[in-house]
Symmetry: C2
Subunit: 247 residues, 2 copies
């Protein structure tokens, strides 16, 4: 099982506006450029938390501005529109997720030494980074995972999410096909969808399990969740393969 990581997602640095001309050269203090970056981060942090808690339409730019103690004009200056702010929230951490998943995939390929990669490694490689960050990544990552879960089943939001997550998903799908060479491609794609649905749902409300069990389950440890998810999903994939296949 992979190791936990510190919260190290940092955003790219898009120009605040199309007219980036008006910038007085470093006259006052040396860090005058940097202040803007920090402000952007604070805005994205606040938006991430509020979108996670109340959804895109349930959050106003006023809420975001208020959360960082500024006026709304500061938010629209840095991000233009609410949609662009939403995209910025996705973008910031998506790159890190992609990186972790690719690292895991490469490591699994190395271990396999040309043989088919075990399905457990593929499931872990894709699911674990997301689940682990959700629980061990601090408040920012927790908010991000809730943010993803809340918007994952809404077509108008999945477009921007897919944009960032599909390239890596395709790499995993290719590897799944190598692991299950006799399974129809269609079945693999369905199974992958099932896996993503499970992954996203579980971070949304780890408390739902407790609720249904009437308080018998006390804590939502990520290890506890993943310990079940990995065999559950791996067995699911295997069940779609013809009887005498590897995986």
């Amino acid at each position: 099982m992979p190791q936990t990581k510190a919260d190290t997602a940092r955003a790219g640095k898009p120009a605040p506006r199309k007219s980036a001309a008006v910038r007085s050269p470093g006259v006052s203090r040396a860090g005058s450029r940097r202040d803007g970056e920090e402000t952007r981060e604070r805005i994205v942090d606040a938006a991430e938390a509020l979108f996670a808690a109340h959804g895109f339409h349930g959050t106003s730019l006023r809420d975001v501005a208020e959360a960082i103690g500024s006026g709304i004009a500061l938010v629209t200056y840095h991000f233009g529109t609410k949609d662009m702010l939403f995209a910025a929230v996705v973008r910031r951490r998506a790159a890190y997720m992609a990186h972790e998943r690719i690292l895991a995939l490469d490591a699994a390929r190395s271990r396999a030494q040309g043989q088919p990669v075990p399905v457990e490694d593929l499931v872990s490689g894709y699911v674990w980074p997301f689940v682990e960050r959700s629980v061990a990544g601090g408040r920012g990552w927790k908010n991000y995972s809730l943010f993803v879960a809340r918007h994952a089943n809404s077509p108008e939001f999945t477009r921007v999410l897919s944009e960032h997550y599909d390239p890596v998903a395709r790499q995993y799908l290719n590897e799944f096909e190598r692991t299950f060479p006799h399974t129809p491609q269609k079945d693999i794609y369905y199974a992958f969808s099932f896996m993503v649905g499970t992954m996203v749902a579980i971070v949304a409300e780890p408390g739902r399990v407790e609720h249904l069990s009437l308080g018998q389950i006390k804590s939502s440890d990520v290890q506890e969740v993943f310990k079940r998810m990995k065999p559950f999903l791996s067995a699911g994939f295997r069940a779609l393969a013809p009887p005498s296949s590897s995986g």
Copy 2:
């Protein structure tokens, strides 16, 4: 595999308001009472479709009123607040879903004749009614399934959803425990959560599978989806059971 059914969900008849005093007795036409019921249905239909398409916060009461060609006062007269309208959308079809699932559970128990119910029957009994209605239930049920999927991962909405779905879920959980007597209860509850997450995600965007497969999969037939979901989920449940268990 269960049979399809016609679209027959009808609402209960809560009193429109606490002050239901002012009703002139049947003076004009005989069906004057019935008009109100029909109006309520039309409002719930419109709200269901709009909530499904744009979410609770993305839909205004004005949108709902406009969709049925009335003013917003008519909506608030019949349902009071937006939250109560939301609850009415859930309530109307939840009873039918519960009924279908209980029927399936009873039938499976009968077939089992006192033996443990096969896990396939439990998965089918719970998942099939939802998936089937989503695809074969007409536009109303399609909207409802999208409505559920869109709000399923948002805690403030799951409360009202759970209220209607938990009682039946508990009955299935009990039966799962009988089918897997040696599996820790905790594991069964997690697996059930995974199942629900998969079920809900798949109706939200059947098109996502096509998108990832770059057009290789042409249509989203419910039979196609369920044919994979059933063995996938059943195998997942079995994977959490100790080696020599039934199921």
